[in-house]
């Protein structure tokens, strides 16, 4: 799809040297999932989120999470209007199409929970008043690695709400050179031209569900899920919800690659970003390496 390629090129012009991560982020969006970016400060997380909002012309808000933040700071408050004699909801930043929740792990679990609940339900309830969130609605949350001081680790159940977790990492030397030589990134983002309207994005998301996943492919996905459960190096296997997410992400990946059917390679491409943050290694194993190793051992075509 040309529009998608163009969107990718646009975002790629501000987030340099990370085409794979950009594609994953786009796939996450197309799959209708929320994205968690885990990285050290200053790696371009915000730039990526902002750029995505720009190319899809999404209503974009950014919330910097802090430890003294309350749920109301995100969701909004219900206020009594003395003139009309009724309560009305003053919408918080969550009422946007693309919410960048910066450093989500700096907030208390209570505040984190409020946001994650809104992400799951796609609506906000305050004092008995329920308001639907705008559509489309995406959350891009960023998180500092948990070893940093003053953070609250996201619990596993909440990690599950994010379809993908990616990290950008340091740029390659030549890319960094280019970055240093370039102008103001903030300005560049603001100059990005929208490629796809929000309504088009909603259509694309609906289209992802129609990408064909054949019986042989489903078999492969099932074998992967089964492998995480049978492998006792993980403390628990992937849930069926994770499996559905994996398939949806693979479909989006296929769509980005201009195919109307899913190949095993699509599954493999999204696998680490979908599976890693949902799995925990027993006795200090490296989750990333273990997750990756399953791709080497689970037969793609059953022998």
């Amino acid at each position: 799809m040309q529009a998608l390629d163009k969107a990718l090129a646009q975002v790629g012009s501000v987030v340099l040297g990370k085409p794979e991560q950009l594609k994953l982020a786009l796939a996450c969006l197309l799959a209708g999932g929320h994205l968690l970016i885990e990285d050290l400060p200053g790696m371009g997380k915000t730039t990526l989120a902002h750029a995505l909002a720009r190319v899809f012309r999404l209503d974009y808000r950014r919330v910097q999470f802090t430890s003294d933040m309350l749920p109301a700071d995100i969701l909004g408050v219900s206020l009594f209007d003395p003139e009309s004699g009724q309560f009305s909801l003053r919408e918080g930043p969550v009422f946007s199409q693309l919410l960048l929740a910066d450093e989500i792990n700096r907030a208390t679990p209570k505040t984190q929970g409020a946001l994650l609940e809104a992400m799951e339900e796609r609506q906000v309830t305050l004092d008995g008043l329920t308001r639907p969130l705008p559509s489309p609605f995406f959350v891009v949350a960023t998180q500092n690695p948990v070893t940093q001081a003053g953070t609250f680790v996201l619990p596993e159940s909440q990690l599950d709400r994010f379809l993908m977790r990616i990290s950008l990492g340091y740029p390659a030397p030549e890319v960094e050179l280019q970055l240093l030589a370039g102008g103001d990134l903030r300005e560049a983002v603001r100059e990005l031209r929208p490629v796809i309207e929000p309504a088009g994005l909603v259509k694309l998301v609906a289209h992802v569900g129609k990408v064909r996943a054949s019986r042989d492919l489903l078999d492969y996905v099932q074998r992967l899920l089964e492998a995480t459960r049978a492998d006792d190096r993980f403390s628990a296997g992937l849930s069926p919800r994770a499996g559905l997410g994996l398939l949806r992400a693979a479909r989006a990946w296929a769509l980005i690659h201009n195919r109307d059917y899913v190949l095993p390679e699509d599954v493999q491409a999204v696998w680490p970003s979908v599976a890693e943050h949902r799995l925990q290694a027993r006795q200090g194993g490296q989750v990333a390496a273990l997750t990756q190793s399953l791709l080497q051992t689970v037969p793609v075509v059953r022998a």
Binding site: D216, V262, E265
Partner: protein
């Protein structure tokens, strides 16, 4: 308080069922109080489960225990022995269910149940009993599986499946142990006092006795010949000889002053003269066969002509019969070699000769007069015998199953008045006539005939027969006067002979001979199964085992048996382990998967080792790296594979599979080119 591990409710059903099933044979065969006791226990348990009643306290339990012991004592007069012991253990088994609280009690109960299962086999050894016991084992094992299943949401049905699989897996091991574990002679002699009167021959013969047997179609014994069976007219199965006649009844007797040692040879100690004489004359052709006898509660065994055996647990009598050391209470198998031509070595002198000529002092005067008349006319014994047979043949004698009752001088009344009789009438009067004429004679009782079923003969109670033997030219010669009157009886057997009779007699045959052909076939088939069970399973005794092991292992040494046992058990458990380990892969490969595997293996043979988890694209890339010339063919194949596997659903039709196979072969050709 110690923690009690409860028996899960999904296991309780199986446990109750297992208790009922294992106790059932005892409820039927055992003393009357077994059923009320089990009902009491089950009812109590049911009330406890509904929380309407408490489990019995110590005093009640003690009272129940004492009552059970007392009832056993009352029924059997003792607490040991197979019957009393089984009744007691089955009763205690039921009582134990009242004590069931936690898992520990359930274990005790189930292990006890396995033991009760074993006691069933003391009294029933047929194939159906074996199947029943296997069923009980499955139920017990299902309870065992159930109480070990922690999940409270487990379904009861799955325990039965687990148990069935476990018992199935155990069967090969059981077969190996059955064949290989050395058999020892029983440690104690099991005398089961079943005490039931069975139909069969008795040690005396009076008129009407044999004809009563003909109403029974019960099996007497079965015979399997090593070679072809002798003709029907040769199938005289001797069981008893009667040498003493009191005017009404023929009895077994020994010459006065003779003991059992003079007439029976058990194979121990020096052989008596008569046995050596028989042995010396035992040349010529012989029938070799195996008899499997049904329990008769008597010692008489049945065999043809002059029977020789290994004399293990049985003895040969001077009158050429086989006699078991103890009454036949279970099925008994024995091998016989019968020599028709033997018997020449026998002697008949002194007291024995006198016995074979003895008659009551008086009575049956008309028969005596007839015999005296024959003696005058035929000085030669053989001519006299022929004259007697001619008399039976020519005078209007009738062969009938329902002879009119005769009293007083039975021989006279039959010979001259009624002239309607059954084999025993003919044998009795013929022998009387012979003795009256001075020819030593005796009555022989046994069976005549046998119906083939499969490769063996069935001899039933209605084949019971009596005939005579006369001493001619230094040996006993069989003479069957019934054959002179009713040759059908000898040639065709009783069933056929009676069927040929008029319709008015046919009514009486129904029960004994079976009127429904289908039922009869079924019966024959069941008997065939039973026979082979008797032969191969129950008949597998020490000697059979020794023979088999010698054939399998060469010499039978403890080391070899132990090694064979170990090897066989390891083999079976190894195979089972493989089966279990392979179960994960047992989903059959689909056509595309097979095609993929074929290409992978072909590439493997060309030296390209692919990782286990290779995809079609990975395979294409690996081929292109190794054989750049084949890049096109590899892409060609990969695209079509992906098209079939991922772009469409369902297994591809044959034409497309063939197309894919062509592309695979093209790829392989490209490698070579």
């Amino acid at each position: 308080m110690a923690r009690i591990y409860q028996v899960p409710s999904h296991a309780r059903g199986w446990l109750t069922l297992a208790i009922i099933a294992t106790s059932l044979p005892q409820l039927v065969d055992g003393p009357w109080w077994q059923s009320p006791l089990l009902l009491l226990v089950l009812g109590w348990r049911a009330l406890v489960d509904r929380q309407r009643l408490l489990l019995p306290g110590r005093v009640v339990r003690l009272a129940l225990l004492l009552a059970t012991v007392a009832a056993t004592w009352q029924s059997f007069g003792r607490l040991h022995g197979p019957e009393a012991g089984t009744a007691l253990i089955t009763g205690l088994f039921a009582l134990k269910y009242l004590e069931l609280v936690g898992k520990r009690d359930a274990y005790v109960l189930i292990v006890l149940g396995y033991f009760v299962c074993a006691t069933i086999l003391l009294f029933h050894q047929g194939p159906l009993a074996a199947l029943y016991v296997v069923g009980c084992l499955v139920l017990l094992t299902a309870s065992l599986a159930g109480i070990n299943y922690g999940d409270t949401h487990a379904r009861g049905r799955q325990h039965l499946g687990v148990a069935a699989v476990m018992v199935l897996q155990a069967l090969p091991l059981a077969a190996i142990l059955f064949v290989l574990v050395p058999r020892v002679a029983p440690l104690w002699n099991m005398h089961l006092d079943s005490g039931q009167a069975r139909t069969g021959m008795s040690d005396s013969m009076s008129p009407g006795q044999v004809s009563r047997l003909t109403e029974s179609a019960e099996l007497a014994f079965r015979v399997q010949f090593d070679g072809p069976a002798p003709a029907p007219s040769q199938r005289y199965w001797r069981g008893l000889t009667y040498s003493y006649f009191d005017g009404t009844t023929w009895r077994q007797a020994r010459p006065p002053g003779w003991g059992e040692r003079d007439t029976l040879y058990h194979g121990r100690g020096p052989a008596p003269d008569w046995y050596r004489g028989l042995r010396a004359a035992a040349g010529g052709p012989a029938w070799e066969y195996r008899v499997i006898m049904e329990p008769s509660q008597q010692r008489w065994l049945y065999a043809l002509a002059v029977p020789f055996t290994d004399l293990d647990g049985l003895a040969l009598a001077r009158d050429l019969r086989l006699v078991a050391d103890a009454p036949v209470t279970g099925t008994l198998g024995y091998r016989v070699r019968s020599v028709p031509a033997a018997g020449a070595g026998a002697t008949l002198d002194g007291a024995e000769r006198a016995l074979m000529l003895s008659l009551p002092e008086q009575g049956n005067e008309r028969a005596r007069a007839l015999a005296a008349d024959w003696r005058r006319r035929y000085p030669n014994d053989r001519a006299l015998v022929n004259a007697a047979l001619g008399y039976f043949r020519e005078q209007p004698f009738f062969y009938t199953l329902e002879p009119p009752p005769v009293t007083g001088d039975t021989v006279d009344r039959f010979l001259f008045d009624t002239r309607r009789g059954f084999c025993e009438h003919y044998a009795s009067s013929f022998t009387f006539l012979m003795r009256a004429a001075g020819v030593p004679a005796r009555v022989v009782a046994g069976y005549q005939g046998g119906e083939p079923n499969g490769d063996y003969l069935q001899v039933r109670q209605y084949d019971a027969h009596a005939w005579s033997e006369v001493w001619l030219a230094g040996r006993w010669v069989r003479v069957d006067p019934t054959g002179a009157v009713a040759p059908d009886r000898i040639e065709l057997g009783l069933r056929q002979a009676m069927r040929n009779r008029s319709a008015d007699q046919a009514d009486g045959e129904g029960g004994a001979f079976g009127r429904l052909p289908v039922l009869f076939r079924l019966q024959q088939w069941a008997d065939y199964v039973d026979f082979n069970w008797q032969k191969w399973v129950l008949g597998y005794r020490q000697e059979e085992q020794r023979d088999l092991l010698e054939r399998l292992l060469g010499a039978v040494t403890p080391t070899r048996i132990a090694l064979a046992l170990l090897g066989a058990v390891l083999l079976v458990t190894g195979l089972l382990a493989l089966l279990v380990l392979n179960r994960r892969r047992d989903q059959p490969a689909r056509p595309l998967e097979r095609e993929f595997r074929r290409l992978r293996q072909a590439l493997g043979r060309r030296g390209l080792a692919l990782p286990e988890a290779v995809s079609a694209a990975g395979l294409e890339a690996a081929v292109a790296r190794r054989w750049p010339a084949a890049t096109g063919a590899a892409g060609h194949w990969r695209r079509y594979f992906e098209h079939l596997a991922y772009r469409r659903d369902g297994d591809p039709p044959r034409s497309e599979r063939l197309q894919l196979a062509r592309r695979r072969r093209a790829l392989m050709r490209a490698l070579r080119g």
